[in-house]
Amino acid sequence: MLEVKELYFRHKGEKRDILKGISFSAEKGFITTILGPNGSGKTTLFKCISGIWENYKGEVKVNGISIDKLPYKKRARLFSVVPQDHEPAFPYSVFDVVLMGRASYVGIFSSPGKKDYEKAETALELVGIRHLKDLPYTKISGGERQLVLIARAIAQEAPVMLLDEPTSHLDFKNQINVLKKIKEIASLKGLTVIMTLHDPNLASLFSDKIVVINSGNKIAEGSPKEVLTEKLIKRVYGIDVVKVDINGQNIICPLI
């Protein structure tokens, strides 16, 4: 599990805090979504948790271990990070990309061994993209690339997985496919999954817990049903919505 306690962050030389004391927790086997509009601080929060920005105040703990000041290698074994879709400088094969998830297990003067190759194979299998194995990572679709990055995170074998806007560049079908896959893997592997999203409906459909962030503050934390009220959406996004219940799922429908 992951705990965030009283997290403050500001950029060097600036006077304004971007994060103003955020605390929340994410539990094993469940998906916790950080939800918020653009500029709310959710990306900053993500970067602090994932260790990209280190000069924050507060504490981030994984399974009781504070990740602050841990060497990169140890940190990578506690949590994996799935970045937003991007293009690498060189057209590595899908398998090569997944194998890179093993970096924290490979010594500086050596290359991945048989075991690492097996773990990468298993990860590809689990995500269901084995058929893409030998294709160049630059030549597959955005949805497939997201799955490759998820497979890489699985090969990393960390108990916590962080995903930054896993659906941001995807079409409707791929958004649903990728999120379904994340949910499936989270419960199968007992992972603690934390992701950022900006679509309240996707958050509602696929999360066990939602943490709502706005202007650097935590507005709410809880199950989608508790958290996503018409009042909260109005407050955070500034638009009027109506909440509809379809087959036990909450759907937020904007009034236009």
Binding site: S50, P71, V81, P88
Partner: protein
């Protein structure tokens, strides 16, 4: 298919080396070359005291070996720098390392002859790459274009410093600096080969062992860190090892450009970008390329053309081709 291509590339330095040994002003038959080599190494053929033996063993063999090792050093440094800077358009020459190392060599020849030439070459090579990187880095990002531009600036700066040395130095020493700067293997001897092995041991071997890391580092700083790589430390190591290899190469044969750019590119086109195979094959390819270029430089006319001219004549059109082919993609982030 890839396996066959890889085998051919790995075997190529030996084939080119053999051809280079029997080509030249004094004709030696290909079979005789093999006999002399076997006589020297395994003592199986007794060829007696023939003039061919001295030509092959004392003159051509050290030259071919030196060309091969220098080619491997430059190409190995090129593939490493391309990986850590995530930029397929850089090499030691473009980043200014060669110019920095050349300046280190020039002041040693000119004024500090008590110091080993390689020492200053390394110091100024490292200074050059550090400068190029610092100048190019804005807000934590290094774009492909700015890195190349800052390399050009640093290169020009050190080239100017070399000119100052040339201007101030004793005319007797000037000639040796000028000739050496053009990049040539005509002064190759066994002592040079021994020195070049330093570049192999303290430059290429560590790079070879660390080569898989280049895959991870080429994803960029944030991602490599998230995957558990200590990026700052590893980048320093890679820059150190590759600059050392280039410093050794430059101290032995002057400035030879473009090899580190062209060879890794050609290998990547043939067998793909995975550094696990790319690095060893670039080393082999660099060796073959340099042996071939040097053989052309000493056989095409009746005198020795500096090999740096041959590599520049092939390298510049190659760079233009890459630029045109890559289009916008090549210059993006």
């Amino acid at each position: 298919m890839k396996g066959i291509k890889a085998l051919i590339i790995l075997a190529s330095p030996f084939i080119f080396g053999w051809i280079a040994l029997f080509l030249g002003a004094y004709g030696v038959s290909p079979i005789m070359v093999l006999k002399i080599l076997l006589n020297e190494t395994l003592h199986v053929f007794n060829v007696g005291d023939i003039p061919e033996k001295a030509i092959i063993v004392d003159i051509r063999l050290p030259r071919v070996l030196l060309a091969g090792i220098v080619g491997a050093c430059l190409s190995g440094a090129g593939v490493t720098l391309q990986g850590i800077f995530r930029n397929p358009l850089v090499d030691p020459f473009i980043l200014g390392i060669s110019a920095g190392a050349a300046f280190g060599c020039a002041i040693t020849i000119g004024f500090l002859s008590f110091l080993p030439i390689q020492f200053m070459a390394f110091i100024f090579g490292i200074t050059a790459v550090a400068l190029a990187y610092t100048v190019a880095r804005t807000q934590g990002e290094v774009s492909r274009l700015t890195l190349i531009l800052s390399g050009v600036i640093v290169s020009a700066f050190f080239t100017a410093l070399v000119s100052i040395v040339k201007f101030l130095v004793d005319p007797n020493k000037l000639q040796s600096i000028v000739y050496w700067l053009m990049g040539s293997f005509s002064l190759a001897d066994w002592k040079g080969v021994k020195v070049s092995l330093l570049g192999v041991i303290f430059g290429l071997i560590p790079i070879f062992l660390m080569r898989w890391r280049l895959n991870v580092m080429s994803l960029g700083e944030e991602e490599a860190k998230a995957l558990g790589v200590n990026v700052s430390r590893d980048r320093l190591l890679f820059i150190g090892f590759s600059t050392f290899a280039v410093a050794i190469a430059t101290s032995l044969c002057g400035i030879i450009g473009w090899v580190g750019l062209m060879v890794p590119h050609l290998v990547r086109m043939l067998i793909g970008p995975d550094h696990k195979t790319l690095v060893p094959l670039s080393l082999a390819g660099g060796a073959s390329f340099m042996i071939a270029a040097d053989t052309i430089s000493r056989t095409i006319t009746s005198f020795d053309i500096p090999v740096g001219i041959i590599t520049a004549l092939t390298g510049a059109p190659f760079f233009i081709y890459l630029m045109k082919r890559g289009g916008k993609e090549a210059w993006g982030k």
